[in-house]
Symmetry: none
Subunit: 236 residues, 2 copies
């Protein structure tokens, strides 16, 4: 953008690189802010210059919120760094980090339990609602499946029992042991009424455009060319 075209490769001239960095950085921050406002998106942007200086932008000036939210997605799966390092100083740092993440998780958990909601903003409440709604669907589906299996199993047992009513209990057990997974755990028929619950969740919003399969978009690294998925089109 400017007098000359530019190759997507590291700018060798140190001066130019610094100048370009400065200009593009502000452009990037500006655009981050714009999309945040225009599209009501939550944005977090972190930039380290070559020299290691930090620049950042975050919607509502609160990077913490963004990062917490981000970690929810990767369910804070970030590697629990093994502290097998000997450097004594690193222990307190590692401990502090872990503790901080712990607190984040605890807070999240309270939120998932519908507690401590006053600390959340509207957007976060909506997001939480949506998340739980989705979770609940998964859970009900899973429960449905579990119940169905058990249902079938019990029906089968009942059927066989009717065939040979003369058998005593011990014999029956022995006969069925091959088929029953984990004998002691089978639930009585009473739990079957739960099935109806599954069908109660009818009018819930499922607003996803069928594209929800990917939880996040992974960017492949590339030192020269723009990944194609990122390029709308490269004609003109």
């Amino acid at each position: 953008m400017g007098r000359g075209r530019v190759q997507l490769k590291r700018i060798e001239n140190k001066i130019n690189r610094q100048v370009t960095f400065s200009k593009r950085r502000s452009g990037l921050l500006k655009k981050a802010h714009e999309i945040s406002v225009l599209c009501d998106a939550d944005v977090g942007l972190i930039v380290f210059s070559t020299k290691g200086k930090l620049f950042e932008y975050a919607t509502d000036s609160c990077m913490e919120r963004i990062l917490e939210r981000y970690e929810q997605y990767s369910y804070a799966e970030r590697k629990l760094t093994s502290p097998n390092l000997e450097s004594p100083g690193s222990w307190s740092l590692e401990y502090a980090k872990l503790k901080a993440r712990m607190e984040v998780l605890q807070r999240n958990q309270r939120h998932y339990m519908g507690e401590d909601l006053d600390s959340l903003r509207l957007k976060e409440l909506q997001s939480l609602e949506h998340q739980l709604d989705t979770s609940l669907k998964h859970i009900r589906t899973r429960k449905d499946k579990a119940l169905q299996e058990q249902n079938n199993l019990l029906a089968k047992k009942l059927k066989e029992k009717e065939k040979e009513p003369a058998m005593n209990q011990w014999e029956q057990v022995q006969n069925h042991e091959l088929n029953s997974p984990s004998f002691g755990l089978t639930q009585p028929l009473s739990s079957m009424n739960m099935i109806s619950d599954i069908y109660q969740s009818v009018g819930e919003n499922t607003s996803n455009g069928g594209n929800e399969a990917t939880p996040n978009q992974q960017i492949p690294s590339s030192n020269t060319v723009m990944p194609q998925w990122m390029m709308p089109h490269m004609d003109n």
Copy 2:
């Protein structure tokens, strides 16, 4: 950029907002990638759509590394939180305990997100379902309350604005000015918020200001209209 100028305010039309989001998002990711390559910078970009979907870009596809680095900046500031235990051996013990609790929490979190359900038994599923159902009720109640409050606030603001239509743009902004709760790292990002957006309209479209109210305010850095956060940085 395009057929018409655009005001820096939330796009009300849902369709347009979504389309713009999609376009700008790829633009933003592209630029993040470009500055990363051209200027040899480390970039981490996180974007949540209104609906809560996550998009991200990270130099070398490793957000983790970026966040790690970011946190070093943060935690360097508040390392004081750690327990003041002196015995060297106790550190590893404390760390292990914390880690164990952490893992429990992580597993719970996954369950709350409707993941990893295979490890749950029927009773646990039912319990989880019940818990989430209850949570959802609380959350929806809280959300409704928040919405109501916001409505009231906006109505009040609108009313006040109608009372004093004489003020010019800057005076209004300055009147609303508060100290931004600068997040306290290298860059004291002043915040920018919805309210200021109302006044940023260049004087064309006077569409309704269906906007949210956030306490912090944009700080005019000079006689330019450029927000402070994007002003050139004076560094070494």
